[in-house]
Amino acid sequence: MKRIISFILVVLVTTGVMVGTSPELLKNIRLGLDLKGGYEILYEAEPLEAGQQLSKASLVQTAKSLESRANALGTSEPEVTTEGNNRIRLKLAGVTDEAEVRAKMKEPAVLTFRSKAANDKEGEYSKIELRGNEFVENAAKVVFTSLNQPMIDIKVKDKAKFSEITKRLMGQPLAIYLDDTLLSAPTVQQQLTDGSAQISGNYTREEANQLRDTINLGALPLKLTEKYSQSVGATLGKLSLDQTIKAGLIGSVIILIFMIGLYRIPGIIASFALITHTWLVLAIFYLGDFVLTLPGIAAFILGIGMAVDANIITYERIKEEMRSGKSILSSVKAGSKHSFRTIIDSNITTIIAAAVMFFLGTGAVKGFALVLIFDIVTSIITNIFFSRFLLTLLVRANVVKKPKYFGVKESEIRAL
């Protein structure tokens, strides 16, 4: 009696948790651009002027400037990542004027030093005094004052011009802009004649490093070329999502009917484990904030077919043990034990293939591989351990007493 109560409790609690959390999960899982529409571009960066070196810092800086541009253009959650030494991947969702956005993105980052023009409002600077390419390449450095306060050392090419600017703007701010974003507005303290200056302020070390990288990038802007691009219309993305989910539901129903038809009571447990499995993979996506792409959903659906394989292998083994004349309980025990190694071995080979895809693949392939790995790992938890636990509870509770509940006929059982 105790066992049957705990069985019912486990099933009810699990169902309750799944039903309670699923709407929230489904609503909040991040969908890839191929499902919600948007576009993805892979840029290769090279210095605007030939013969210059490309540094990782300037690549990161370019990525940051792309991100702030995308934000300024009002796109939702732009995603910008650097890849390798010279690539930047940009993902944008929900863009209406694609051509404009794409053209803007490709423009090199523009660094300017500006002063206040006559009709500027408070905190606005629009008179351009110096441009990024007037600085000596890679000459900006972070140095420290005697009080260990970081400052940025800069060098300009035209000493005379810099001297004139610093003389004219003495005591006034000389603001630093990247594209149209104000980064900092230090005040000119004295006339500087040797073409070098120190920018000091209440910078943290990190802010100082950032400003240094920005100035160096401005001195040596990168040229971006599109190497790969994918753009998906929002309607088309929604269509793919709906179609594929429908395919998944039909496939799942077929698999559930198949399992229950063949394995009866254990089949029902396998089906319950399978639903738990699906919920768990969704939960992992939600908790890990992973992005679900179309190939990802495909992996998800294939994973449903693969997860029940563990149950099939176990149940066939249990049936075999029962036919040899063992009691139900010892058949379940022996069947679970003997099939475990086989299942793990076959799952590991799939994980090997998925891991290779994850490490060598890009974009869509990576998304697929990630789901496949989660699929297999969670299926070990749900379709081996969880379903074994449920089945053992039921058998020990003496609820399933007849072999036919396992899909085994009395006539097939040999005397021990």
């Binding site: 998906v232 219309g233 088309l236 793919s240 292998i313 895809m357």
Partner: protein, 302 residues
Amino acid sequence: MRFNWSYDYIKGSKIAYIFSIILTITGIVSILGLGLNYAVDFRAGSNVDISVSKAITTEQVNPIIRDMGVDEGDVHITPGADRVNVRFSNVLDENQESKFKQEFSKLDSKASYEVNTVDPEMAKELERNAIYAVLIASIGIMIYVAIRFEWRFGLAAVIALFHDAFVVISVFSIFRLEVDLTFITAVLTIVGFSINDTIVIFDRIRENLRFAKKTTKAELREVVNQSLAQTMTRSLNTTFTVFAASICLFIFGGESIRMFSLAMVIGTLFGAYSSIFIAAPLWLVLKGKQVSKPKAAAKASN
């Protein structure tokens, strides 16, 4: 419902070998002669997939392409009632792309687009990575199976696995089906999954070997046949569930994973076939060489 699966599979494997060899040769001829029908992912250019609300003909699309200043010879148009595909062998820049969309939307205001553009250098890189991936995955699996079982099982499993991957690639070459990035994903999944059945069978062979006499080749053959009969329901059922999932994806799933699903359908079926008729008999051939040497036979019986 229980079938008796006793059958001389080793005898059946002779026919399977012939079938597989013919298939492989046809595949090699097709791949060398016709090559693969690469999608834009692997051969650079731009691919435009449009879901349309009314049928659009090639004649309607052609003027747009002329207008863009692209040579019609470089463009391949596949018209359809609900989907139109336009493939450009050259990379479209963003102005051409938006111009195309603008003009096409005049034909059908409800059109929704998917545009993929791949630079030649990138295409080469993707192709290279794909080949590396298949090789590394196969080697990894072979090493794993060799460690868990013995090298003969590992070798037989990997030959069967290459067979499955190769059959899928051949079928795509022969029927001129489009090979895109998701196809590679499917081949790798087949490589990882089709071996599952093989492992179930090998596991059973190993288990049966413990209790069996294995001094002659005939005795070994009996063990293999028995093991195959015992695991047949398992192999068929596990294949069915994955097959059901892939065929549903193929029939009802989104357009851009159709080729992926088809590759999975073919791969799953051939995976089951090769586990039964290629991997297990092949192991027997390898193991049989060992028992025919008297010294080795004595060693094997411990």
